[in-house]
């Protein structure tokens, strides 16, 4: 019986420990495209649909923990969107309403595409990924989680259980460029978070490198040149130079979606705009 529907996380981990090659199925928006169009023939599928524990989220002492099975639609609006607005914006740019009703944050992490829309948000917020195995638990910072194009650090038998991000005081946002305005996979994307209490700006870039890239040199340059505590005041020269420095840290390639030159240009514009929005 190769489609299994475990009813508890423990049962899921048991099955997966015994058969680490089993395919995990959450919303199906990646796996089923591979099955329908690219000839993928999974031997065993573990459906996560019945695991309500994975679709919960909670807010405790300044941190939000989101179950891996939470669909994008549930991040777009409501209290979660108010707590983590950049995640809501990123979720809102994913596919169509039908896709957002099905696709999950755990699926985004499992597939780990450089164009995954929630991933720059997790990188900019220094998210922690909670990873479970039958034999133990480990917490992985997002910066260690994604290790290459569609590659993450999960070991055989492990699953993403949930993700924790801080609630940050200050502006945060997500922006992306594609070949049209809706239902599009990112050509370049970025998430900027301004922590007005700590006096930090972080920016993470999607689809312009093999992994999500934190433009740490541009972040430090900004911190040296602008007061980041409280509300931001950004001149257009500073914003433009920030964009230029962010683009210098991108490592884009040319592929069927775009060229490296265009991506580098686009990411400089996105970084400049996000910083300007943070200052409004």
């Amino acid at each position: 019986m190769p489609v299994l529907r475990p009813t508890s996380v423990d049962q899921l981990l048991d099955i997966l420990a015994n058969d680490p090659s089993a395919s995990l199925l959450a919303g199906g928006t990646d796996l089923m495209v591979e099955v329908n169009l690219h000839g993928r023939r999974p031997a065993t599928v573990l459906s996560l649909r019945s695991l309500d524990e994975l679709t919960e989220w909670s807010h405790r002492s300044g941190r939000v923990t989101i179950g891996a099975g939470l669909p994008y639609a549930d991040m777009e609006k409501g209290p979660l969107a108010q707590l983590v607005p950049a995640l809501a914006q990123a979720a809102r740019t994913v596919g169509s309403p039908q896709i957002r009703a099905a696709g999950t944050i755990g699926g985004n992490l499992g597939t780990c595409s450089p164009a995954g829309d929630t991933l720059p948000v997790l990188a900019a917020l220094n998210a922690t990924i909670h990873v479970l195995h039958r034999d133990g638990v480990r917490d992985v910072p997002f910066s260690d989680f994604m290790v290459g194009v569609k590659r993450n650090c999960l070991r055989p038998g492990e699953i993403v259980h949930s993700v924790t991000v801080p609630v940050v005081e200050g502006w945060q946002g997500y922006a992306k460029v594609g070949t049209r305005n809706a239902m599009v996979i990112s050509t370049a994307s970025a998430c900027l978070v301004h922590d007005s209490v700590e006096g930090l700006v972080s920016i993470a870039l999607g689809a312009v490198g093999p992994t999500i890239i934190r433009a740490t040199e541009a972040e430090s340059w900004l911190a040296r040149n602008v007061s980041l505590r409280g509300s931001l005041s950004i001149s257009s020269d500073i914003a433009t130079e920030f964009g230029r420095r962010v683009a210098a840290e991108a490592r884009p390639i040319s592929d069927h979606r775009s060229t490296a030159d265009y991506r580098r240009h686009a990411i400089s514009v996105l970084a400049r705009r996000l910083l300007e929005r943070a200052a409004i």
């Binding site: 919303g27 199906g28 039908q98 896709i99 099905a102």
Partner: protein, 171 residues
């Protein structure tokens, strides 16, 4: 394992439009769309892109409008599924279906079942949508020949009709 062909899935049951349907002799990767159309005689949901872009296969699953082409059928056991076939009652068209016909929102008709399901899903959750909300709710459904103007008109008409009926009930 005695059966060397591991791609066969044991028989399972799906709950569709309030009825249980048994699915036998299926292959592991079959989508809900395929099973509805080819195994269960419910061809209302249409197959086109098979990758969640066009919305012509839209069904309601546990209260959410989803693309049935991206639902692995055997994983849908235990879910409540509603297809376009289940929207009308006693062989009559639903109010949304009638409004599409009257507004001229149906030309070739291929995308229509997906739209009808998406509109029911919208109006059941938001009885009084503005144009932005209607466009947003239907942004995952692509029509290539009718055009969207008459479809929007149909949705507005149903919303007004339903509010009228609601007032009638309250009065």
């Amino acid at each position: 394992m005695s059966n060397s062909d591991t791609s066969n899935v044991e028989a399972y049951e799906l709950r569709i439009n309030g009825r249980n349907h048994e699915v036998r002799d299926s292959w592991i990767g079959e989508s809900l769309l395929y099973v509805l159309r080819e195994r269960l005689g419910l061809p209302g949901a249409k197959g086109a892109c098979e990758q969640g872009e066009c919305g012509s296969c839209t069904v309601i699953m546990d209260g959410r409008a989803v693309c049935s082409c991206l639902v692995m059928s055997a994983s849908a056991v235990g879910s409540d599924i509603a297809t376009v076939e289940g929207l009308g009652t006693d062989g009559q068209l639903s109010d949304v279906q009638r409004a599409f016909l009257e507004a001229g929102g149906v030309q070739c008709g291929f995308c229509t079942p997906g739209f009808i399901v998406a509109v029911h899903h919208l109006l059941d959750a938001s009885p009084n949508p503005n144009d932005e909300q209607i466009k947003e709710a239907l942004s995952g459904n692509i029509c290539r020949c009718t055009g969207y103007g008459r479809i929007l008109e149909a949705v507005r008409t149903v919303a007004v009709q339903r509010r009228g009926q609601q007032r009638g009930v309250e009065a």
